[in-house]
Each structure stands twice: as C-alpha cells, then as structure tokens.
Symmetry: C2
Subunit: 223 residues, 2 copies
C-alpha cells in the first residue's frame, strides 16, 4: 500500500496541517485551551475525561468532541450525562481523527463560552499520531495492563506527546509492569515528558493532573 | 481523507484479496494451517502465541510471522527464544499487515516442514480488519481490562472473526467487565462465534483452545 499512497498522503498531510493551523487560530481567538486525547482501545480515555470534567467543571466551561469509528454513542452519552456540550464524530470506519473533522465539529460547540475543549480521538496507537488536530496539547492515556513495552513498540505516538497519563495504576499488583523499563522507553523518545500516573477508578493521582491543567489554562490566557 | 482515498483503496483491496488467495493456496499446498491473530495493543497476543506454542510444539511444527510497526524485535525475540522459526515484518509505521507482506514473508519459513503458521498482526482494532491475509482463520485476542464495550465500538473487526479469545480473565475481580453485555455485543455482530475465555498468565482456559485447534488442524488435513 505504501508505494501507491505516498504522494497522496503527503498532500493530505499538507492539507491537514493547514486546517490544523486554522483550528488552532479559531480556538486561540476564543481563548479556548484544547486537548487531543489519544490511547489504545480501552486504556480509559472516557474515564479520564469524566474525571477531568468532574474536577474542573465548577471553575471552567468544557466542551467535548467524541471520535468513534462506528455509529455508537456510548462515550458521547457518558459525557452528555455529565452535563457537558458534546459533539460526536463518526469516522465511518476511519482509524483516526483529522483536522478537517475537527474543523467541522468546532462550529457545533459554543466556543465563545468555553474555556476547554477535550477531543477524544479514536482508540488506536498508530494512525492518530500522524494527524495534527490543532489542539493546544497532545495527550496519551497509556494503561498499566497494556504492558510496559508499548513505548518501544509504538514509538511515533510517544514522540509527538506533550503529556503522558499512565492509567489503571490500581492494577499494578496484578500484572507484570516494570515502571522503570516503561519510563526508560518514554525518555528515549520524548525526554522530560510531563507524566501523570493515575487511577481513574480510585481517583488516585488525578489531583496533580488537575493542578497542572488549571495552571496551563490560566497561563495560556496570559500568553 | 475518505473522498480522495476511495478509488485507490478499492484497487488495493482487490489486489490484496488476490494475493491473499495466493497465500491461501500456497499454505494449502503445504498442508499448513494458518492463524491471523489480531488485538489492540497489549491485549496479550504474544503471550497467547507462546502459550499455544508451549502446548502444541511436541505434536506440531510451528512457524511465526511477527508484524510490528517499528524496528523492535521484542516479540520476535520471545518467539525465537521458544525455539520457533520466526520472521519479522516491520511495516515501517503502517497500521496493519496486508496479504503482500505475508506473501513476502512466507518463503522465509520452511513451509513444507510446518503444520501451523501463526501470524501476529499489528496491535490495532481497526485497520487489520480490512485486510484478508489468506490465513485459515482470523482470531481476535480481546482482554478483560480493555472493557466490555469493545464489540460495540469496533464492530468491523468482530464481524470478520472465526475465533474470539477473551484474555486476562484473572483480572475480572479488579475491573468492571460485564461478560453478558460483552457477549451480547459479540453475538449481534457474529452469532455463534467460537469463543475461549483464557488467562495466559495463569494458563486457565488454555486447554479447551488447544483441543479445539488440534482438532481443526487434523480436520483441515482430511478436508
């Protein structure tokens, strides 16, 4: 597939970057901080988003864009149940979100009223890494039961991150996960990467992430 | 991306199916049973392959094709350590194996001496579903900590399966996983799908899978 795809993919990446830049400008004009949340299937993106909403909603107005490969509303329903404006993107089987999908979704959110937009990407450690969405930061939710070798096996997604969340730390006693080995892999690809070990189930480790994000949102307004 | 990709993707799928058919013929000529093992990252494909090898190697000769998106040999090394002939395919960032990659890998295995070829696909619940490799069966390793909503969110991969393995059942006491909800989703997409709940860590549930596979390999020779 590679040989045939190359010239087209380059054009698409150019076009994607241009639209990502427009998304970034639109959100900057509206003083919106935006997070692109990536993960493999079942690492806990939605639980992490719900924890983040729970801790921030008294201080900030939050909108959510939910990316799914199929016409299911499981995640969007959970976010809507938390009282947040949510837009769902059904990629129709596509394996990632791209900037154009975000560009179509943003006008459906009340951007001028929002402080934070959280984008839940499609569950996939490979394809989403190649598509800038124009968000302020790229964040990966890794999870302990996935195993400690993921940075070595899926290096591209780790290279493009601003924040790494290591979820399901409550399962550490029950699985083989060598945190030193995992961290060495991450450091090779993305030295000094801001990292938060958390358990979305127990709430452990969520507080430092919330403090960091609050400070980021406030700093971005002054920037 | 969809609009531009459609005609090319159709041609690629045609070409892929033709090569998959050739792969299937080549393996049939050599009386080789072949399994395409798919899963999301960290569901336990390699552990499942190692368990399968351990229980079958006294009776059958087994070769392994390892698909990785990066130039790491973590899985191939584990398989080689188990004494099996292994070929690694580095997809160079591509998100799935295709029939052409398998066609290039097969001549590197001593097919005429083998009974079983196990293909470990790239860790991804979306893209591998679209590419027939020409194996005898398609198998998915799901895992309990991924959550019970995966059939609903990633329906395409479940539709194309011959066998479903539900791994990490030893973690059930520590995570929210409603087996009835999961199974209902699977049955909607693929009624009567042959399913094996296992724990590759403890070995629980491996025996029925091994018995089933043995019978399949023997039946395929008489077929």
């Amino acid at each position: 597939m590679s040989a045939i795809r190359v010239p087209i993919v380059e054009k698409i990446f150019d076009a994607n970057d241009q639209i990502a830049h427009q998304n970034k400008q639109l959100m900057a004009q509206n003083h919106v901080y935006a997070i692109n949340i990536m993960a493999s299937p079942g690492a806990g993106k939605t639980s992490f988003i719900l924890q983040t909403i729970k801790h921030l909603q008294s201080e900030f107005k939050i909108g959510v864009i939910e990316g799914d490969t199929a016409a299911v509303t499981i995640d969007a329903d959970k976010v809507a149940a938390a009282g947040m404006p949510a837009v769902q993107i059904n990629t129709g089987g596509e394996c990632h979100l791209d900037a154009s999908m975000i560009s179509n979704a943003l006008p459906q959110l009340p951007l001028d009223e929002l402080d934070l937009v959280i984008v839940e990407n499609v569950g996939n450690l490979i394809c989403p890494a190649a598509f800038d969405l124009g968000t302020t930061i790229n964040l990966l939710v890794a999870s302990v039961p996935e195993g400690d070798d993921k940075p070595y096996k899926y290096p591209n997604i780790y290279r493009g991150l601003n924040v790494l969340v290591i979820n399901k730390t409550d399962l550490k006693p029950y699985v083989q996960f060598d945190m030193d080995y995992f961290t060495r892999g991450v450091q090779l690809l993305n030295p000094g990467l801001t990292t938060f070990p958390v358990s979305c189930r127990t709430g452990e480790g969520i507080a430092p992430w919330i403090e960091w994000l609050k400070a980021e949102i406030l700093a971005s307004r002054q920037g």
